[in-house]
């Protein structure tokens, strides 16, 4: 209904190959970015920003990471939590040794360490496929979780056994640590997420993205076409872990501000992010945002929304209902639309384009 496509023709291949060929889609994206960068900071309260928007962006980034390996390359990974942990600790160590360097550099750099470890645990993916591969990443999850607790060097021998986020400045404004305001933290993380999404989109729409999807859809045919499976899978694991690492670093430095490390990067975190990718939509970047939004906002609404409107809800029962709801949602989505919210979004766009005709 909103689309007026006639008259939009392409004179060059680069125009034809752009991610959003239709003017209406480009306008849509511009609006979303405007809302995120201007409207939300102005209207949203500090509470809304720090408990809804920042976590949503962190989870979206982590979900994007997992989607690269599970959604685009078809390799199940249950180690997301641990890889995020690696990113967080790497960033912590880097900023303790070189405090002068702006923190954003280290947040991005920390991804490199988790990418290395991700690739390492991706090695078995050549010989084993499907469920079996989940074991390799589970091994990573438990092993790394064990390291985070057992190796004090990682958390600088702090008594609390966890990362204590130091205050770091950018251009005189405190970005991390207790004095940093939610607003600045929101802008920093928004910048990181937008940049990383753009990079992911570039890579996934190019040769590398096609190789990932080829390996996902029919790895035998991909191999016979000259795509070497191991390097492609390792690259997928590395890229995925890079994104998870950065997500971990942003979680610790821009959101938690030094919470207890062990529960942040445990197996449950891996499950939650896997659910986000499933419900959001395997193999779609916009799906990550949908999944993260849905699975993060429901618990927050339950904890704070319901009591606010008078329904007494003890902390524990909220937790239980949250479990029930998340589990129910997963099954519901898998039945209604196995490809998740992203496919529903795509279908609605398609419906609008062929309006008033049936899709």
């Amino acid at each position: 209904m909103l689309y007026r496509e006639s008259g939009q023709f392409k004179k060059t291949y680069s125009a034809d190959m752009q991610v959003f060929p239709l003017r209406e889609d480009r306008v849509g994206i511009a609006i979303i970015l405007f809302i995120a960068a201007v409207v939300i900071p102005l209207t949203g309260s500090n509470f809304f920003i720090s408990t809804v928007m920042i976590p949503f962006l962190v989870f979206a980034l982590a979900a994007m990471g997992l989607n690269i390996v599970t959604g685009y390359t078809g390799l199940i990974s249950l180690g997301t939590g641990a890889f995020m942990g690696v990113g967080a600790y790497a960033c912590y160590k880097l900023t303790t040794y070189f405090p002068g360097v702006p923190i954003v550099i280290w947040i991005l750099a920390s991804g490199i360490f988790s990418a290395a470890i991700g690739a390492l645990f991706g090695l078995p993916s050549l010989r084993i496929k499907g469920f079996y591969l989940a074991v390799a990443t589970l091994a990573a999850q438990f092993f790394l979780e064990w390291c985070f607790v057992r190796i004090p060097w990682l958390f600088n021998y702090n008594a609390s056994g966890a990362i204590e986020v130091p205050t770091r400045w950018i251009a005189g404004v405190p970005v991390t640590g207790p004095t940093a305001t939610p607003m600045t933290r929101y802008y920093v993380i928004l910048g990181i997420v937008v940049l990383m999404t753009w990079v992911a989109s570039n890579i996934l729409h190019g040769r590398i993205g096609r190789s990932f999807m080829a390996v996902r859809d029919m790895d035998i045919a991909a191999e016979l076409m000259g795509i070497r499976l191991l390097p492609t899978k390792l690259l997928a694991f590395a890229m995925s872990s890079f994104y998870c690492g950065v997500a971990g670093a942003t979680m610790m430095f821009l959101w938690y501000g030094g919470g207890e490390a062990s529960d942040a990067f445990n197996i449950n975190q891996s499950f939650i992010i896997l659910f986000m990718v499933i419900i959001g939509g395997l193999g779609s970047l916009i799906g990550c945002f949908f999944g993260a939004a849905l699975l993060h906002i429901i618990p927050v609404m339950l904890k704070f929304g319901l009591p606010a409107i008078g329904i007494p809800l003890a902390g524990a029962t909220a937790e239980h209902i949250n479990h029930l709801l998340v589990g129910g949602l997963i099954i519901l989505f898998l039945i209604v639309e196995p490809h998740g919210l992203a496919r529903l979004w795509q279908i609605t766009k398609q419906k609008l384009r062929t309006w008033p005709f049936p899709y």
Binding site: S6, K11, W355, P356
Partner: protein
């Protein structure tokens, strides 16, 4: 549009040079190829055409030679026309989908010396009849696909000819002057093109059109509709049809707007949507197809969409045309229509690629009034024009504000129209043809002593000065009772229903009117599928009793409409039958532009026509058919004949003469 002293521009090559000079960077031509639209500015088009002309001269093309153009709408074929005219040669476009021997007759009749064709398929056709074409010196092809192994002594790629021309241009400056001299030698009296009309009776005739007259006619209509170089047109009609030559060639060169060539006939609809043409021209058959597609797809839509669609179609029916014509409309209705524009008409036009159409014409055949007003009511500025090849198209055309469904408009500027006593329409226009090529008697036959051209169509002027075409002059007949019998008028009314694809009416000198009906396989097939009616073949579906009932309903409805019109009330359809096979151009039952060849059908299905009039309820028929790959076969069937319900005729005086 330039009003400067362009009287000197009396041939198309001169106009091309003018455009290249006046608007060098404006887009002249676009072609969707290999996934993207390649664009040539007017300067580049002129550049290529000049090189191409030099290349052709190098191959011995002289002034006055005929050069055939065979293929779909592709830039290189349009350039072939321009290049030929630059040298003073005469392009002869031929229908790409005509069978080898049809093409042979035209090429032989026009004594064609060269041929520019699209691809291997056309080259094979020419080679298969080369024995009948001794004087073909060279054939040039656009798509090299599969032709590498052919003997290239008399065969060459157009690309190479252009390259040769470019080489000549650089090597010898004298060549440029020689070409300019040739172009300058061209005058208004030169024959700029010979268009073979798909005559509904007998062999097609070669209509010679002179450059000066074509340009004069084109300039009038460019001014009439205010066409400018901001416009866009999608060239998808056959090259050999006057519609394409007028709109996509003559008017483009005069107004300087951009010609867009689609990737292939199959992707034309999608390409139209992409390029967003602002000036559209299509025979009624195309609009019929569009309407049928809309109706069928809407039936499959969800309940809400259907409800919304039908409600706003109602609103459009009431106010649509009035708003388009700028007539006074209550504010509330205008608001409601605006919502409809957002929800239904806008998206509908968008999906059909009509959003950006500023001016739309339909011609070639009379269009059913309901079909015409449907498109106008959703905001498409569709107008009627009446014309024919001999007039270089325009005879009458409607102004933006003077649009009526059942008339074809007043005379085009500078055109005089006279109605002969037997009702035939005569005209004298700046663009009329010089004569039929190598056929002086036929030319004399169609001209009146005082220089008017006989159209062969019967019609009369309405009170508001708009011409109303009844039918082919020779087809308009009288029933035994003396009542007027206009077969086309009745056929168009029946063809408005999506389920009916083609109609042939009979009644000349008979008691009453009877019709053959052809079902539309897509529409009726869709209905069958939804009501799970099983059918094995087209023939079985056509003979299905339920289909007969549906079509009987349609005939009854048309009879009711005819009953309300005094002239037509006594020409209602009394009996009808559904043909067991689709009328097809390959079997000679239709012309290349899908017009019914009434005489041919009458004697081919004589047994059925007899059954219609001798009261029998069914009749056997077996006809010879040519399949797609040329094999011949025989189809025989037993066809049911049914009586139609005739509406009561209000007592009225004897038909006014």
């Amino acid at each position: 549009m330039e009003q400067d002293a362009s009287a000197a521009l009396d041939t198309f090559p001169k106009w091309l040079a003018h455009q290249a000079h006046a608007r060098p960077s404006r887009p002249g031509m676009r072609h969707k190829d290999l996934g993207i639209w390649t664009e040539w500015s007017w300067a580049e088009v002129a550049q290529n055409v000049r090189a191409y002309a030099l290349g052709l001269m190098a191959h011995g093309l002289q002034r006055g030679d005929r050069i055939a153009i065979i293929g779909n709408n592709r830039p290189k074929l349009y350039w072939s026309m321009m290049a030929a005219q630059s040298v003073g040669a005469i392009p002869v476009p031929v229908y790409a989908d005509s069978v080898a021997d049809e093409m042979a007759y035209v090429l032989e009749h026009a004594e064609v010396k060269f041929a520019c064709v699209q691809d291997q398929e056309q080259v094979d056709k020419i080679l298969s009849v080369s024995d009948r074409l001794p004087n073909i010196a060279f054939v040039f092809y656009d798509e090299p696909r599969g032709l590498r192994a052919y003997d290239h002594s008399r065969l060459q790629a157009i690309e190479e000819v252009i390259a040769q021309g470019k080489g000549l241009m650089l090597a010898d400056p004298e060549a440029n002057r020689r070409l300019d001299a040739e172009i300058a030698r061209g005058t208004g009296e030169d024959i700029s093109v010979i268009l073979y009309t798909s005559g509904t009776t007998g062999r097609s005739k070669g209509v010679m059109l002179s450059a000066g007259r074509c340009i004069a006619a084109a300039r009038d209509t460019v001014a009439f509709d205010g066409l400018s170089d901001r416009d866009n047109v999608l060239a998808y009609l056959p090259l050999a049809w006057v519609g394409d030559h007028y709109l996509n060639y003559a008017q483009a060169l005069i107004a300087g707007f951009c010609i867009n060539c689609p990737e292939s006939p199959e992707t034309a609809v999608e390409d139209r949507r992409e390029v967003g043409n602002t000036y559209a021209f299509a025979p009624p058959r195309v609009f019929e197809g569009m309407l049928t597609r809309i109706m069928i797809r809407m039936e499959d839509a969800s309940w809400l969409k259907r409800k919304l669609f039908h409600y706003y179609m109602g609103v459009a029916k009431l106010w649509g045309e009035k708003i388009l014509d700028g007539k006074p409309v209550p504010v509330l209705a205008r608001l409601n229509y605006a919502i409809g524009e957002l929800l239904v008409y806008g998206p509908l036009k968008n999906v059909m690629g009509l959003t950006t159409v500023r001016v739309g014409y339909t011609a070639g055949e009379a269009i059913g009034p309901e079909l015409f007003s449907f498109f106008r009511s959703i905001g498409l500025n569709l107008k009627q024009l009446y014309g024919q090849t001999e007039a270089f198209l325009f005879v009458t055309c409607q102004k933006d504000d003077g649009v009526r469904a059942d008339c074809v408009g007043p005379a085009t500027p500078n055109v005089e129209i006279r109605i002969a006593e037997d009702g035939e329409v005569l005209y004298k226009s700046p663009g009329q043809f010089v004569g039929y090529y190598k056929d002086p008697e036929k030319t004399a036959e169609t001209m009146t002593p005082d220089g008017f051209v006989k159209t062969g169509d019967a019609g009369f002027f309405e009170k508001d000065g708009q011409l109303r075409i009844i039918d082919r002059a020779k087809d308009v007949g009288r029933l035994k009772s003396g009542a007027l019998f206009a077969p086309k008028y009745i056929e168009n009314k029946l063809k408005f229903f999506p389920n009916i694809r083609e109609v042939v009416a009979f009644g000349q000198g008979e008691e009453f009117v009877t019709v053959f009906l052809n079902i539309d396989l897509v529409a009726v097939g869709n209905w069958a599928e939804r009501n799970n009616v099983s059918y094995g073949s087209y023939q079985e579906l056509a003979g299905h009793p339920q289909v007969y009932d549906i079509l009987a309903g349609h005939v009854a409805e048309v009879n009711r409409q005819l009953a309300e019109e005094p002239m037509m009330a006594r020409a209602q359809v009394h009996r009808f039958l559904i043909l067991h096979k689709e009328l097809d151009a390959d079997d000679g039952e239709l012309t290349r532009t899908q017009k019914v060849r009434r005489g041919f059908i009458a004697d081919r299905y004589a047994s059925l026509v007899k059954a219609l009039y001798d009261g029998s309820t069914e009749a056997d028929i077996s006809t010879e058919v040519t399949f797609e790959d040329g094999r011949k076969g025989v189809i025989s069937a037993r066809v049911k004949v049914m009586d139609a319900t005739v509406a009561p005729v209000a007592a009225m005086p004897q038909a006014a003469e």
